[in-house]
Symmetry: C2
Subunit: 386 residues, 2 copies
């Protein structure tokens, strides 16, 4: 970051933005400013939703012993050849605990080790037990119904790669292998500073950006904290108005690297450093705050958390029901809702409010080079989901 | 549910399933057995991820007063007509706190109420202040840069509908309107009973189903609890082996309505009632447990939570890289991973283990009437995501 201060953004209060950074340049700045945090060791029971810091090898073969994978009768496959609906073969029922004698069969439950000498499990549906005699009505192929030791993975094989965001089944796998502690990327601690809303009536508006960001920061793997922090997200007073003191304060306290992004809404966002960590200023208008968090601050949190930097929203391709009008030179964060399966825009990015995002099912990103899309165009909708 | 007991499933231990219920019949049973739970009132700050129990009306107009939506100079639009780059018009800068005099302009910050008499805001970029004089270089259309009281929503208008799963921006909207308490659907309390794993080696396998299900139940809006509960999920000993006591125990303690589902894996799942609430028995094998939770138990939790019953996984349509072989008559829960953008199956549903789901990016549901799909076929992949 050396020299960044001299390249820093100027104070644009009462003058407005003379130029704004393209979104791609802001992404580059974020990727350079934030790398995956160091590891910490945690209980494996709390691992879901965390990012694995180091590759994990299988501490055992899996399964750790030959085991039945169906309920039924353990047999020697060779002794079942020729058995059929009209040609039953009789075997002698024996104890599952002992090695299987010739001509024998033993009741076995799925998941347990079959008796020594067994090489197949016949399901109940093709056998009939009468006292100590078992009539079987089908042949078994060698290996049927049995999973061999190490068949899924050998001891020392790669169980989970470093960088993996652990899902429910991945956390369950740790428990299955008896792994009690696991090294994961430390959660990014985000210091959240919120300038109060600008007053419009008695007690109104309420402060909406805190609830909004706490939820989104948690989704991206971060925790909101008091200092010390791994990054600062400050909200409000970021633009060019007479009360917009935040960018100049950031420049004075540290570094203001970028102020103003070629996007709508959220274009007054600023980026720099303070106290040795990356700092992002988000606009105070809640829709603009949402836009700048989604596109930039969320990426910073995910980078620190060791997650994929790209947007975490599921994407649905859809036909546009009504046209989207966009300004050339600006990336538009356009709210859309599905109406009869087609995506329809909600209010323009400049006239939207938090209500537009509440009424939306997702958003469309209209790139700077585009003037918008005609009805019927196919667009990628990034879905809002909790 | 009257008469269900007489239609109940028989004890099939050591005999196997003579018939299995189609998945659609199980879904119908779940939908009949579980309805949305009653409401509770909670702090709005904790509302994200909860389902709204009653429609919410706007307690105020939004915005609650006319407000500037850009930083700039408040003017009367009629007095700006004719202004241009080579034809500036001069206005007298005044205090924003006072009504605007004729020929006047006042500095105003985005988000605040502009002075009375104003009907447009001119951005800084087209104005130049020199002491008490403001030269403007562009005309403003009436209404530009101003949002009128009630423009987004009128007091009493529908803010959020009943049944809405509240996202970050929805929770933020409550804060914006100063709504402190909100009625949401009570979280389903799920009693989780886990039969230990069947031993295969010293301390192995570990108990994986608890970590798996706790995470999935939370995802679906439920909380794992000791009694009293809104539903019971019991895991293990659900099939037809000598040690599979769970279905008969359910029949003895309450009702066993369905035992056995035409699916792989997970086909030994059972459904009934115990202690006056729905009870589901899931297989103890972790992959089968995952399959039966995903397809059925998760639906029960979501129904109780007032959420959409359908699978919550994002769906990606993809081309199949390798064939999927499936058995006619069974719904297959087939693990797939993306390789070069194409979905490839992971081990067969009968020979899979939890590792198949760990190695998978998602799953494909192959309906009972299908023998599978050829390479190149388009399939819907339900994505695993945390």
């Amino acid at each position: 970051m050396s020299g960044a201060k001299t390249r820093g953004a100027a104070d644009i209060r009462l003058r407005g933005f003379s130029n704004r950074a393209p979104a791609a340049a802001v992404e580059q700045w974020i990727d350079a400013a934030a790398a995956t945090l160091p590891a910490e060791e945690i209980d494996a029971a709390a691992a879901a939703g965390r990012v694995l810091a180091s590759p994990l090898s299988a501490p055992w073969d899996w399964p750790p012993a030959d085991r039945a994978i169906i309920d039924g009768y353990a047999v020697r496959a060779a002794e079942t050849i020729g058995a059929g609906d009209y040609n039953p073969i009789s075997l002698a029922l024996a104890q599952a605990a002992r090695p299987l004698a010739e001509g024998g069969a033993a009741l076995v439950a799925a998941g347990l080790v079959p008796p020594r000498g067994t090489d197949a499990i016949l399901p109940f549906e093709v056998a009939h037990a009468e006292g100590a005699r078992l009539d079987i009505f089908a042949a078994a192929a060698a290996g049927a119904g049995i999973e061999r030791q190490g068949q899924q993975i050998r001891r020392g094989g790669l169980l989970l790669p470093a960088g993996k965001l652990l899902r429910a089944q991945d956390a369950a796998l740790l428990a299955l292998f008896g792994i009690a502690r696991v090294a994961v990327v430390r959660r990014p601690r985000i210091r959240l500073e919120i300038a109060g809303p600008k007053p419009l009536g008695e007690g109104l508006p309420g402060e909406a950006n805190g609830p909004l960001l706490r939820h989104l920061i948690a989704r991206d793997g971060g925790v909101v904290t008091e200092a010390p922090a791994d990054a600062v997200i400050a909200v409000g007073r970021s633009a060019a108005g007479p009360d917009d003191a935040a960018p100049a304060a950031l420049a004075a306290a540290g570094e203001l690297a970028i102020h103003g992004v070629a996007m709508r809404p959220g274009g007054s966002a600023a980026f720099g450093r303070r106290g040795g960590v990356p700092a992002i200023l988000l606009p105070g208008d809640p829709l603009a705050c949402l836009a700048a968090y989604v596109l930039f601050a969320g990426r910073l949190v995910r980078r620190l958390a060791g997650r994929q930097a790209r947007l975490p929203h599921p994407v649905r391709e859809a036909e546009l029901g009504k046209k989207i009008v966009s300004a050339v030179g600006l990336l538009d964060f356009q709210q859309v809702a599905f109406v009869d399966g087609r995506a329809e825009p909600h209010s323009s990015p400049e006239a939207g409010s938090l209500l537009s995002a509440v009424r939306a099912d997702g958003f469309v990103l209209v790139p700077p080079e585009s003037e918008g899309y005609a009805p019927g165009a196919r667009v990628a909708v990034y879905l809002y989901e909790s």
